[in-house]
Symmetry: C2
Subunit: 378 residues, 2 copies
């Protein structure tokens, strides 16, 4: 068996050629199709960024308008999908519901059996539009509120807030969420995107790949981390504790603090820069500076004590809370953004496919261990 | 960025240490926990094999009886899960339905939020028992037949055939399926198992991991290949063609023949040996030798012309057809077996976890490519 032995977790191993996302972890650089994330966060929209991820270049005015129109047109859910969101036990987490509902979307997708590039682009529009809708609709249903029909005149971010809240969002709220969606849209071969590519590489379908990605994003070492940050802030607030003292005690008890450190970045996560700024402004404007102030105090302490930097999850917690998004929707909102990157990666994988099938280093009982008849076993 | 550049598809790259499955592709060896697959195929049962995969050793009489009892006890589905199998568009493939239903199982699993080793073992019993049930129940529903309640006195294989057909299966049928389930139960880091480990490694839950694995298995480069084999046999039969001539023309037209070759084996796939033998006996006993005879003629031709060996999928097609299993249930039946290995791998991953997060080799537009205002774009 001619295998290269490498560390667990495939750390530093190249598993694909990809033209989508360039990261320089030493320099703190993140870029989509070569364009720096800072430029996109400041100037772009989620629609434009998604076009960029899927097409490899920025759209001109006409292409951008057409893209936005297509994405808005895809805000249609089969009534039977909405029915499937009812009568779900209230113990079910929104990520379980999203995973199940996205899987069921394929029942009603006319392109399900077509794995061509063009069919996958059509399915990517629908998945992008509909994941956000499923999150909002399920939240309305579980709260016993009426479902808000989509507004096709709004942007992706604006429509999500509209369907979630049932009132037209402020420009600041829409722009903040839009920027957060840009920042979360792709991140090279993170675990959920890699899971999606492994699944797609069997020539399975895009729904299967995205369902697997949602399952991976659910984990607290991945998308689930932003929930962990907010639960910490709430626990500190409830205890009336000093945030630094609280976190210090957690570290002494060997507990992990969510939202710090990153497998790839050795500097500050460039996404955290924008989320910090937005969190500060939003919390102050909303007259709730405490979430930002607590976060900032914890960040400075962890920087100093553990030499760890805040990552994308850390300030998204206070940002989303101030936008009025429930904690257990943080990871679903992450999915409503990352679908842009997942779709780009699945389509790229299928355009030049090879089955992804590594090997294991065997550490079990020696071969051959004999099969022993039942009555001769200890 | 300090990354090792390797080939696409992670070929020959070790992605995990594992004590579950040892394969020597050069020598044609497959073993579970060190025990050769030939010994297991000849002497073991699916229950015993699953115990072996999960516990690392063969059970004694008492442990085996207890294991079988636990697995049979888990043959209980919440009525709301069965309701979710109704009113599905008939265009939906059973693998889509299985992916969606297994995802929904987590709504009703009391251990959903418990990711401990013991809770995952409990969930593994339920998933193993219930995946087979979901496949059988959905097939009854789509055919407008009454659902057959599980029989807890039967083995896993026997109960599946009972719930599928509504009549007690023959000993030969049960033993044939049981052996097929043993042969399909694990195969190291195949794409679906690897997808399951990538998902579990974010500390997500076992349902998410298995749902991702089902999505990967659905692909024609993985579990879906056995369907491809049977569709070929049916096409040849319908055309009244000579199988060798038919396949020869396919090769001339650069078409791929499903069921041949394997990323890992350079010799005959050791599982094919047993499936060939079972296919021959079963087809002859059923008075339908043609499926075996066509398969054998194609195998000998492809051996000679392409130097490719039959793999696990090739003779499972004629075997399952002779057992009266519909073509689009072949991959779901594969899932009803491979769940044993998936569960073993997820639990092993979580017992000594590290996030699986490789890197990509960037081949896109150079960084930094500037963001250009909308009206300045071509």
């Amino acid at each position: 068996m001619s295998t290269a032995v490498v560390g667990k977790g495939l750390e530093g191993i190249v598993a694909a050629n990809s033209g989508i996302c360039f990261i320089d972890g030493e320099a703190g650089v993140l870029s989509y199709r070569g364009i720096d994330i800072h430029e996109l966060a400041e100037n772009s929209t989620f629609e434009e960024t998604t076009y960029l991820l899927w097409n490899g270049r920025l759209p001109n005015r006409q292409a951008l308008a057409e893209f936005g129109r297509q994405l808005a047109q895809a805000r249609e859910l089969d009534a039977r999908i909405v029915d499937r969101l009812r009568n779900i036990p209230e113990t079910a987490a929104p990520m379980e519901v999203l995973r199940t509902s996205v899987s069921a979307l394929s029942y009603y997708d006319a392109d399900e059996k077509d794995n061509s590039h063009q069919a996958n682009v059509r399915k990517a529009y629908r998945l992008t539009a509909q994941i956000a809708m499923l999150v909002a609709i399920y939240d309305r249903i579980r709260k016993g509120r009426e479902i808000v029909p989509p507004d096709k005149s709004l942007t992706h971010a604006g429509n999500f807030l509209w369907m979630l809240k049932g009132e037209k969002p402020s420009e600041t709220a829409t722009r903040t969420l839009d920027t957060a969606l840009i920042l979360h849209a792709d991140h090279e071969l993170n675990a959920s995107t890699f899971a999606a590519r492994v699944i797609a590489a069997t020539l399975s379908d895009i729904h299967s790949a995205i369902v697997g990605a949602i399952g991976a994003l659910k984990g607290p070492l991945h998308g689930g981390a932003n929930e962990g940050v907010m639960r910490l802030l709430l626990a500190i607030d409830k205890a009336g504790a000093d945030p630094v003292e609280y976190v210090k005690q957690m570290l002494e008890a060997k507990q992990k603090i969510s939202g710090f450190g990153h497998r790839v970045y050795k500097t500050e996560d460039p996404r955290a820069t924008h989320l910090r700024r937005m969190s500060e402004k939003l919390c102050k404007d909303a007259g709730q500076p405490k979430w930002f102030e607590m976060s900032r105090a914890i960040e400075l302490y962890i920087n100093r004590e553990k030499k760890l930097n805040a990552n994308v999850d850390f300030y998204s917690a206070s940002t989303y809370t101030t936008l009025g998004i429930d904690i257990d929707l943080f990871t679903p909102v992450f999915a409503a953004s990352r679908i842009a990157g997942w779709a780009a990666h699945v389509i790229e994988q299928l355009d030049d496919n090879r089955l992804i099938r590594p090997r294991a280093e065997y550490i079990g009982p020696a071969y051959p261990t004999p099969w022993v008849p039942l009555d001769k076993r200890a």
